[in-house]
Point group: C2
Chain length 336, copies 2
Amino acid sequence: MSEKRAVTMDDIARLAQVSKPTVSRALNNSPLVKERTRNRVLAVAHEQGYAVNRNAQKLRRKRTNTIAVSLDFGSHQQGHIADPFMFELLAGVSEALGDRNQDLLLCAPKHNDADAFQNILWSRGADGFIVLGQGHREDMLNDFARTGAPLVVWGAGADDAEYCVVGSDNFLGGKLAGQHLLRKGGRRLAFVGDTSFREIGLRYSGLVRAASEKPYDVVTDHVDLHSFSYDAAYEAALRYLDVTEQRPDGLFASNDTVAMAFISAFRDSNIDVPGEISVVGYNDIPTAAYFTPRLTTIRQDIYQAGRVLVAKLMRILDGETPDSALIKTEIIVRQT
Amino acid sequence: MSEKRAVTMDDIARLAQVSKPTVSRALNNSPLVKERTRNRVLAVAHEQGYAVNRNAQKLRRKRTNTIAVSLDFGSHQQGHIADPFMFELLAGVSEALGDRNQDLLLCAPKHNDADAFQNILWSRGADGFIVLGQGHREDMLNDFARTGAPLVVWGAGADDAEYCVVGSDNFLGGKLAGQHLLRKGGRRLAFVGDTSFREIGLRYSGLVRAASEKPYDVVTDHVDLHSFSYDAAYEAALRYLDVTEQRPDGLFASNDTVAMAFISAFRDSNIDVPGEISVVGYNDIPTAAYFTPRLTTIRQDIYQAGRVLVAKLMRILDGETPDSALIKTEIIVRQT
DNA sequence: AATTTTTTTGTAATGCGTTTCAGAAACAAG
DNA sequence: CTTGTTTCTGAAACGCATTACAAAAAAATT
């Protein structure tokens, strides 16, 4: 195995009988280089299997063309991702970044504090950040943004958020869910989810709004659940059924996994869904469509999400300060 | 917004009243630097919010501490990931890399040909590759490996594979599935999946082996299906029921999604699962456990997988040539 | 106290592109 | 055939950290 030295721009320059800057210009499609010269250089470069050393390039240009993406693996427990939605989002972002020739640096879970984020920027590991899921880190993200860090976050923003937020229209989603449940004849609606997350709080608000718009009285209940996992939700459902005096006739869950867990618990308790209780989930994860009964849920346009996140960040990198944005959010009515 | 110049090692050197190399040594915990000096340097560095410029570092060290991970988004269609398994694997790899302080460069789908791979290495964008899912790219990967590219692949390797393969023990998995179906009284077993993928072919072989070990005759059938998506599988199931004369009493699907699609199709055709047909899936995706009926499936230890993939690659980077490896593979018996 | 050895620090070179700026070549105008 | 432009190319500097090697400082030895 030969320890051969990598071919550098100098080598190409020598072989093509031009100077190093000319090679650089040729490779970068600079209009300053004559057509014939460029072709010669390109030919030599290709033939030598030459690829510009990205690190030298990044060093000199002070631009990495790399975006750090932070996935909140918090929802990732015991070997199983509770909510596959984030991964779909990642796929969308990945594709959108690819389209713009940006590399994607995936940030590991433990590197999730402000210092680690800052470090990636200071050390020029990436030009900007896409944070998928703000969780309870709004303060941290605000601090980070205030340092001037180019940052786009998937989630729901506070009115005074210092950073650009892209996300589902959670309030609308909640309202659509509520309207669906009411249309199904619901009078006692229950919401299950951790409303301390802004996104989820908004979904609940939307539900309440939908209820309040009816001329008749609608009771809205709130089942607090501080986990996104199926098992925890299933347990919570059984406990809820045990405790509650009057069962709801409509349930809106903060995500599909929880919705399905509740439906399972209902079924295991001989409660018919959607006969006795209608259920709406959130995210339209793949499973939702073929769960039994097929789950009614709120869908977001994930590809649009990825594209918008990336587009916003690029604008920030260009010095602009784009507004936050909401992604198309609609209800997918199925059996529940 | 001030366009302030980044703080460099020279700045730290000046402020700490030492030379640049001393700063470098201090930051890298070199034993060559005196304790007191190191502390002074570290203090200044911290106070200045200094972070080593990774690009200069990579350039000089000729080592990036970055691993490129290629996800086969081929299984990614119409906005939904058909098989969430790959993403769980990604999470495992991400974690394992994080533990070793390696960065993870996520490669976009379209960058999947040999040239693009090679380019990442030539341009020193990463030190090595982890390919998640070899698909039908064995030849490409062999070529790539032959160039000396540090490469580890998740999948199932040919005997003469030129690269290190880590994967589920697909043959064993298939055998376990077969044994389960036979234990349930199966005499006519059907396998559904695209056996042109080596992994899947092995699962089928395992099933056949299990059947052949019985003293009585077992028929094994093979339903070809060139898609991993739920919808396609559901259609295929209906078509299969339509065409086949004698229905199987045991079904082994190449993955959980397909298994669930078949079960749904069976149910929609008034065939009882597991009463009339037992079913086994593969991967133990989160949904499998709470599908109705709870799906029996083959589970692989995903965290082990991530760790092993990374460990093997690190050894390759150290100049060794580790053997391929199989991951712990077991059957999770549930209702089906 | 002088000398040797060990430990610590500094100087200079290096890794590889990009960019500034000056110079050469090609072309147009007079 | 100059002179003035325009177009193209090259020399040198720069971005920032690491490393080989030399030198200085400190410690150990005689």
